[in-house]
Amino acid sequence: MDAQKTPQKNIQQPGKGQKLGVWKQYWDRFASNRWLLPVLTVAGFILSILIPQFNLVNPYIQLILMYIGINIILTTSLNLINGYMGEFSVGHAGFMAVGAYTSAVLTTIFIPTSLNPWLFPLVVLAAGVAAGLVGLLVAIPSFKTRGDYLAIVTLAFNMIVKSIIENIEAIGGPRGIPGIEKLTTLPWAFFWTALAVWVIRNFVYSNFGRGVMSIREDEIASDLMSVNTRQAKLLAFVISSFFAGIAGALFAHVLQFISPKVFDILKSTDILIMVYLGGIGSITGSILGATIFTILLEVLRPLGVWRMVLMPLVLVLLMLFRPRGIMGLREFRWFIPHYQLLATHLWRKKKEAANAPAAD
């Protein structure tokens, strides 16, 4: 429950930096504006339609924007397991591979090319469902094992998926599937990203989400408090893998070529790094982490090989000075649903009222 208390504490202390006080007030008003989120979403969606239509930015930047969207989906969905549920899943690229391969097989083999653009949303959905079903399988061992042993299960899952794909000749085996049509467009990427963030945010602040968070704090205690831990774990895994599958489908149709090698443990590590860079248990953190990581990698491109030396160093330094990541366990106020804010407000009032007579 720490996650919801802290942000308001931070915002309701305007007196601390006196020099920055005026700016901080502006920022607070801006950051706690309840219309900010819908306005940003609509503006983003309109922009995402306008940008490719009128070529507002060059195609390279459009491509990076799409990658940012895909990475945000991946990071947010992994954060559900690693941040909110407190497990250590290291096989997220496996779910992504399932989604990518499902969608790529559908668009290259089963669906006629002329229908592809129209059926693409359904294809992405199918990819998500396929990955979600696989997520169901991985959730079952999580009932019994925890911690490092569950990490091994997810790791083994990632390698098994890769190995199975390598052994099926019909989908290209180790050579992969070349020549996938470029169906992911900026509006679609934005739509799926917004959907993923919206669904996961609402899940986290729902009753199920509270169950998931209680597992992070203490599984046995939450079980004793009649939280259905199995259901919570199952839901978290299925939702997380569903969106990983969607991200995989979008990824396959941006890259236009997939092979088992793309989805190996290094890809999982990248997603992990984005999650912990942004901060565990924070959706805005995931968005920031994915964006910063993707942009940094592109900005540092002129450095050549050295950028791959620099990135881990940045990560290590960040971990040393902010062990919880940029936004760890905190959230921007405008990102939290209103009923949640209201509930916290009422709870606090009640507590103050209860404490007041005791203090006399």
């Binding site: 094992t145 290094l266 992990l272 790094i273 090989v305 990560l315």
Partner: protein, 291 residues
Amino acid sequence: MTYLFQQLLNAMQLGSIYALIALGYTMVYGILTMINFAHGDLFMVGAFLCFIAATFLKLPFVPTLLISMIGVALLGVVIERLAYKPLRHAPRVSAVITALGVGLFLENFTLVFSPYPQHVPELIANKTWVIAGVSISSLQIIIILLSIGLMILLDQIVRHTMVGMAMRAISWDKTIVPLMGVPLNLIISITFALGTSLGAAAGTMYSLAFPVIDPYMGIMVGWKAFISAVVGGIGNIRGAMIGGFILGGVEILVAAFMPSTYRDFVAFSLLLVLLIFRPYGILGKPRPQKV
């Protein structure tokens, strides 16, 4: 039958390498309850130090092995002091992510200086004996005997010396034991030095057995060694040895009797099955959980 024995010999060779690396994981885990994901890359650095010593300094086998072990032990201690020590009281996961970062750094730093795979020269004169149809090379004998020797040495150190006693005590309780006058930081450094030098020895032997080395070789081997450590029960030294031999055996035997592309698939499926029946590994004991 001779084919089976031949494959078992190969399995011993691979298994002893996995076991040596798994020991590093398990020792660090036992003392810090932290997974040192940079360990696979320290193994890689060990292989590269062996390559440098053998190619540029033209040293024979034993000095090469020593250089590699000492160099990597120093590197391991430095990494622990700079990157892991400040995080000892941070959430466990931050230390793990730091370890991942350190591993990536080591890989890519090596990549800058060696963009192409390197070829390690032959350090041990290759003799092959044929006993009852099973061919044994001198390299295989050295690898198996040396790693078993190192493992026994480690086991003795942990069980019968003051340092080993301090290690076991710290893995038992990190708060009380330093109050009894055990130098915590020194013992942790020694643990890192021992664990990483075993990894470096494994790297040296691996690069002699499979002489083409590249900066990314540590990833796969490292993860597999980690899996061996978990199979044996992480934190348990004898378990790590058993786990390494089991994983090596399964991998080699699957490759020997089935299409080799199924190797990873079968090996990891078996691991999952094993974890279902023994969720805490072969020798691991479930820790009682308190609410």
